[in-house]
């Protein structure tokens, strides 16, 4: 017994020393260290500031461009024949010209593929061609960032989209790139289809009710970027969907999204609900003019994985009438969305999310089946030993 006490004292002392050494946790500031060994080069502080200013200028320039575009769009619509709901022009170095024929036909195909004909809210698309020879007196236009002006900031029936086409498509439009034309054209249709963004929703379902619109504005329309994303591809669009979960970088990708989105990946209705309804407010406010700037560049962190197609999928799931009831509702967003889905928002979203990413397991809890089988095997092993021991003989 004395020896037992001695060992207990030794153990408790060792643990107390450890507790004194490590509690409370030391804390640390973020190292910013890359997951990979060698870090990639970063701009200096001054360069980062210049880039931030460039981004602010792009925002202001896009807003200006949109507001200026309203008058030009009025002209175009005046000239357009009755029933025209989509007009397209291109712009290069602040000069507006007719859209390249290939872009015009591609966007009209995209329009038809989205099931849009004559719509209450018209859409005017301005394809911003890249300036091929680089200019140094102003920031270059980023291809992945599009800007939109809501109908209430124009004539109430026209949504304007400014889509920078980037070097690749600009050269394609100018006939400098025709490699694999049929496939490139298909890709162009898809690019312009997703480029229509919020304007496609305005065209399909009209102007949303105040609560829904304020919710989407507060979130930067991240849940309504693609009206019809089509069938779920085998590979998905995000790193989380592309990465094999046996590898550590799968979890790097998972933990790079906000906690509510991670919880939603684990099929937790509360997390899904919080991730989807973030931004919904009881006192909705909408800016005027209602300018939307949407960044589609690779690497941006989504609030919900595959969120860009969320409302498109909701619309397809519940049907046009129920979706329109939600879209134009005067009720709070959560109530209206639950009514349209006929299910709690969290549960529906958890099911929808699991269609893209097989639910992940959070925390240390082991799979219940595994525990049961493990315990059964443990019991079996002990029973086996019991049986063999009863047969044991001394020879």
């Amino acid at each position: 017994m004395a020896s037992l006490k001695r060992w207990v004292v030794v153990g408790v002392t060792a643990c107390s020393v450890l507790a004194l050494a490590y509690l409370p946790p030391r804390g640390a500031t973020a190292s910013g260290r890359s997951f990979f060994m060698a870090q990639s080069r970063q701009g200096t502080r001054a360069r980062q500031r210049a880039q931030a200013l460039a981004d602010q200028w792009r925002g202001a320039d896009a807003a200006l461009r949109l507001l200026r575009a309203r008058r030009e769009v009025q002209e175009l619509l005046r000239e357009a024949k009755a029933g025209t709901s989509l007009v397209v022009v291109s712009e290069s170095a602040d000069v507006t010209t007719a859209a390249p024929p290939i872009a015009d036909s591609a966007i009209h195909i995209a329009w038809r593929q989205l099931g849009l004909g004559e719509t209450k809210v018209r859409v005017a698309v301005i394809i911003q061609l890249a300036i091929v020879s680089p200019v140094h007196d102003r920031p270059t236009i980023e291809a992945g960032i599009a800007a939109y002006l809501a109908p209430d900031s124009t004539d109430r029936t026209t949504c304007i989209a400014v889509l920078p086409s980037g070097n690749y498509w600009t050269r394609f439009f100018r006939g400098e790139r025709r490699d694999g034309a049929p496939f490139a054209f298909e890709a162009l249709v898809q690019t312009l289809k997703s480029g229509l963004g919020p304007c496609a929703f305005y065209a399909a379902y009209g102007t949303p009710g105040k609560s829904v619109r304020a919710w989407l504005v507060a979130r930067g329309w991240d849940l309504a970027l693609t009206l019809d994303a089509g069938a779920r591809g085998p590979y998905g669009n995000s790193l989380i969907e592309m990465t094999d979960r046996r590898y550590p970088w799968f979890w790097e990708a998972v933990y790079s999204v906000p906690p509510t989105a991670v919880a939603c990946l684990a099929s937790r209705p509360t997390g899904c609900r919080a991730a989807v309804l973030a931004g919904a407010s009881d006192d909705p406010s909408i800016p005027f003019p209602d300018l939307m700037r949407i960044d589609r560049r690779w690497g941006r962190v989504p609030r919900v994985v595959e969120g860009q197609r969320f409302l498109g999928d909701v619309a397809r799931a519940v049907g046009r009438d129920r979706f329109l009831n939600f879209w134009t509702t005067a009720l709070p967003v959560d109530t209206a969305l639950a009514a349209a889905l006929k299910r709690p928002v969290g549960e529906w979203t958890a099911d929808w999310q699991s269609g893209f990413v097989h639910p992940i397991r959070l925390g240390p809890a082991p799979p219940l089946g595994g525990v049961a089988i493990a315990l059964a095997i443990a019991a079996l092993a002990v029973a086996l030993v019991g049986v063999t021991a009863s047969r044991r003989q001394v020879r």
Binding site: M37, A38, S40, G43, A46, L67, R68, D179, P289
Partner: protein, 362 residues
């Protein structure tokens, strides 16, 4: 009362909104202009900051000069000089007189603690690498980061990769030999058997008309190509029926599918190692100025550039390339000198273990 106000407002505001919009435009324009001005100043400052950072990052660093190589590195246990002395002759033998131009673009490296847990300062300039590399690894790093002088896009497109020196020319040749022997293409087979015209075809030195039929001559090759490389690509959309027909041995379907591929995306029968070997042979044959001649006329057809670099007609160059590849037939499996000793050593070790086993001590 508020209704009256609303009514009055409605009437009074009818002409005003565009005015209010115009003032907004003016305000936005002013904001954009001032942002643009600030951005221009910030750009100038950033350029200065970058150049200062360049100076700061290289201050207290050693500059190692070996031949045309200029390497600026922070103090570290890395064997830079030995590595540069290994790398320079290889670089010089490839680029010849053009290698001297490399001295205008010094390399900046920062050696860091390989322990990924150690905090490091942010990298603004140069390339980071762990300081525990040996001479060979460091030399390989220098060879793989060297930029070919005046290397043009046309040459890069044809080559399908960069043109860099190698420490393993023999294994590169051996790889080409294996390709010539094993690639399932009649054209490559003909090239292997000595048909120089087919060699030029598979190296894409001729015109690009009818490339598909010349690279993949038989229906079986074309079907195999679709099946092995493009099943997923053609399985969706309008091309799906043609894919089905192709799988049912309909050559017209396979050919039309492959012809619909973007130019440049038809898989080359020979991987880029074959083309790199051809360029190396041209440079070896052409002497120290061969590389300068190779990059002198980027607009000229590749075959002419290679011929002028090698100083011989293209057929002779391709024949030389083929001979170099055939001469590199990989050696059969041989035991390294230490294998015997290792086998005996391990046998002895386990034998001793067996003798010390407790079962002998009962």
């Amino acid at each position: 009362m508020s209704r009256l106000l609303g009514l009055v407002l409605a009437v009074s505001l009818l002409p005003s909104p565009l005015r209010s919009q115009d003032s907004l435009v003016v305000r936005l324009r002013r904001q954009a202009d001032s942002l643009l001005g600030t951005w221009r100043e910030a750009q100038l400052l950033a350029d200065v900051a970058d150049s200062l950072e360049q100076v700061r990052a290289t201050a207290g660093s050693d500059t190692i000069a070996v031949g045309g190589l200029r390497i600026i590195v922070n103090p570290s246990p890395l064997p830079w000089r030995e590595a540069a002395e290994h790398a320079w002759p290889v670089i010089d033998s490839l680029y010849g007189s053009a290698a001297e131009d490399l001295s205008r673009h010094p390399y900046i490296f920062r050696a860091v603690d390989p322990d990924s847990g150690v905090r490091r300062t942010v990298l603004h300039v140069g390339v980071e690498l762990p300081w525990d590399l040996d001479v060979r690894a460091t030399a390989t790093l220098l060879l793989t980061t060297v930029n070919a002088p005046r290397f043009d896009a046309a040459l890069a497109d044809w080559l399908g990769s960069g043109l860099r020196p190698t420490l393993h020319p023999q294994s590169e040749r051996a790889a080409v030999f294996v390709q010539l022997l094993t690639v399932p293409s009649e054209a490559v087979r003909a090239c292997f058997l000595g048909d120089i015209a087919h060699c030029k075809d598979v190296l894409q030195l001729g015109d690009s008309i009818g490339l598909l039929e010349r690279w993949y001559a038989t229906p079986a090759e074309r079907e195999a190509l679709v099946a092995s490389s493009f099943t997923d690509y053609f399985a969706r959309g309008a091309t799906a029926p043609s894919l089905q027909n192709c799988r049912q041995h309909r050559d017209d379907a396979c050919t039309s599918l492959l012809q619909s591929l973007p130019p440049g995306s038809l898989p080359r029968p020979l991987a880029h190692a074959a083309r790199i070997l051809l360029v190396r042979e041209a440079l070896r044959a052409g002497g120290r100025d061969a590389y300068r001649r190779l990059v002198a006329r980027p607009s000229a057809p590749i075959r002419e550039r290679l011929a002028s670099a090698a100083g011989m007609d293209i057929d002779s160059l391709v024949a030389r390339w083929r001979n170099a590849a055939l001469a590199a037939r990989p050696k059969p499996l041989t035991l390294p000198w230490w294998a015997g000793f290792a086998a005996i050593g391990w046998t002895a070790f386990f034998g001793l273990c067996a003798l010390r086993s407790s079962r002998w001590r009962l």
